[in-house]
């Protein structure tokens, strides 16, 4: 009978630290975006790593560890923290579309320039103002550079849902940031 690769105790710890700990910054920042409070984010990350460690023998080496950690974190967040969070106000899709098209049509030039070291704070603030589901889509796909499939798996939603959340999130970000960028002379 072929033995499945059960990791020994010492090996498990060493492998886990080498495989999972390097993603702590990504996990922490997404946790921070989700919970909005550093203490809650720390608790969420700690819980995520503890659960990941317990189930590490089930993790297949060579697969995407970051996506696996994000999946655990999102599950912990949904079950433990989200109830305490206030849901952001919903976004009117029609209003968003209308504003977006108006703004795009009124823009004086294109393409928009995104070079330069400025705007970091504005981007962070604009991201934090996005509704949770939109914010997560942007964080996973644009910041963490996950594929649609990986991000959809983390959020446990269909790919089509992820695509439309991303589409709207980017439009909202554009509406938030384009006027600022133009004022500062970046576009």
């Amino acid at each position: 009978m072929a033995d499945s690769p059960i990791i020994g105790a010492e090996n498990k710890r060493a492998q886990f630290e080498a495989t999972a700990l390097p993603f702590m910054r990504s996990i922490y920042n997404t946790a921070l975006c989700l919970t909005r409070r550093p203490e809650d984010a720390s608790d969420l990350v700690q819980e995520t790593y503890l659960r990941a460690y317990r189930t590490f023998p089930n993790f297949t080496p060579g697969t995407n560890c970051k996506a696996w950690l994000f999946t655990i974190m999102y599950s912990v967040f949904v079950n433990k923290y989200r109830k305490e969070q206030r849901e952001p106000e919903s976004v009117s899709i029609e209003e968003l579309e209308e504003k977006f098209h108006r703004s795009v049509a009124a823009a004086e030039s294109d393409p928009y320039l995104t070079q330069g070291g400025a705007m970091a704070a504005e981007v962070n603030q604009a991201l934090n103002r996005l509704p949770e589901s939109f914010r997560l889509a942007v964080l996973l796909v644009d910041v963490e550079e996950m594929s649609y499939e990986e991000a959809a798996a983390v959020l446990n939603c269909p790919i089509g849902t992820l695509r439309s959340r991303l589409f709207r999130a980017r439009k909202l970000l554009f509406l938030e940031l384009e006027p600022y960028a133009r004022r500062k002379g970046y576009s």
């Binding site: 499945s4 059960i6 105790a9 710890r13 886990f16 630290e17 700990l21 702590m24 910054r25 990504s26 922490y28 920042n29 921070l32 550093p38 720390s42 608790d43 990350v45 700690q46 790593y49 503890l50 460690y53 317990r54 023998p57 977006f100 098209h101 703004s103 795009v104 049509a105 823009a107 294109d110 393409p111 928009y112 995104t114 705007m119 970091a120 704070a121 981007v123 962070n124 991201l127 942007v138 964080l139 796909v141 644009d142 910041v143 550079e145 649609y148 695509r163 991303l166 589409f167 999130a169 980017r170 439009k171 970000l173 554009f174 940031l177 384009e178 960028a181 576009s187």
Partner: protein
């Protein structure tokens, strides 16, 4: 501006995220060349994507978070090494058919052993509960003449110590077997947080009297010293935090001799401190770990109470109260000393 009968919407985003087939890509790109509106939308989305990708500045991880995670993993390692036998479960979990066969086998063994052991134990259930029976050679005849027929049916099992103290009287090997399992389970992993919480509630209910009532911290320390505590009990002065010492007692926390002292704060808030020789590693998993001044604190919530454990040399200290959890933690932070 060129007008088009059809604009690309979702395809624009798919182009941006490189999710189009080569043929679709060519079609969309061709369209963008001639459609001002779609091109502007594409650039707008690209602007948003690039900003998130390049301008989002991640915050650095708090230094104590990594330490806390490693400490939590240490505890998890210790916990799993204590329950190393459970690796069999994991092994079985990966082989469901074997697992079912194994469980069936265990059930069969249990059933068989029940019937096998039952015969010699036909007398021993009474034996274990009634020590006088072995001295009587004819058990069937005695109950009929016995003036107290309820005695044989009345079990004397509730306390395990009783059982084990009686077992040497009997030659049959079964009673020790029966007595061993529960006592082992009880003593191997005492649920210290629950015990501490129970002590706190018992004190508040007036069931745990103080042996010395004093507001004087030194007097309290002297009391513990005279009571033979093998370590210097550091009774906290919490006057600055508006907590007044009420007194203390020599207490027993599971198997540990514990210095138990009580404070009263504003609004009759009660704070109990216990100090006992032991290691925080005896605590079960489930604590929230906090760190302050290089000391690890193990925070539990039990029955609406907050318990903050920490280690001071060979002593484990625990503060317990039903006040705001963060206040308990902060009091522990304020008074803990790294040894």
């Amino acid at each position: 501006m060129t007008t088009h009968s059809r604009h690309f919407r979702e395809e624009i985003q798919d182009l941006l995220d490189n999710r189009l087939t080569p043929a679709s890509r060519v079609a969309v790109e061709k369209h963008l060349e001639s459609c001002d509106q779609c091109r502007r939308e594409f650039e707008a989305l690209r602007f948003a994507k690039q900003l998130s990708n390049k301008r989002y500045v991640p915050k650095s991880v708090p230094t104590k978070l990594e330490k806390n995670i490693l400490a939590a993993l240490d505890i998890e390692d210790r916990r799993s090494s204590r329950t190393a036998g459970f690796s069999l479960n994991r092994w079985l979990a990966q082989r469901p058919i074997l697992a079912y066969t194994f469980l069936l086998f265990i059930a069969l063994v249990l059933v068989l052993s029940y019937f096998i052991l039952r015969k010699p134990l036909g007398k021993s259930p009474e034996l274990s509960s009634k020590p006088e029976l072995p001295t009587k050679p004819e058990p069937p005849s005695t109950p009929n003449r016995n003036t107290k027929p309820e005695l044989p049916t009345k079990p004397e099992l509730p306390s395990e110590p009783e059982l084990s103290s009686k077992t040497p009287l009997h030659a049959t090997p079964q009673p020790p077997k029966k007595a061993k399992l529960p006592t082992k389970l009880k003593t191997s992993r005492p649920d210290l947080p629950s015990e501490v919480a129970r002590d706190y509630l018992n004190y508040k209910a007036g069931k745990v009297p103080l042996m010395l009532k004093t507001e004087n911290v030194r007097e309290m320390e002297k009391f513990f010293s005279e009571e033979g505590f093998p370590y210097q009990t550091r009774v906290f002065d919490l006057g600055m935090m508006s907590y007044r010492l009420l007194g203390g007692r020599v207490h027993k926390l599971t198997t540990h001799k514990s210095a138990f002292f009580v404070y009263r704060g504003k609004g009759d808030a009660i704070l109990v401190c216990q100090m006992y020789p032991g290691k925080v590693t005896e605590l079960h998993a489930g604590a929230v770990l906090r760190e302050n001044k290089g000391i690890q604190f193990y925070i539990y919530r039990v029955k609406g109470l907050t318990l903050a454990f920490w280690q001071e040399g060979p002593i484990t200290c625990v503060l317990t109260s039903d006040i705001d959890p963060e206040q308990v933690v902060q009091l522990a932070f304020a008074k803990a000393v790294k040894v």
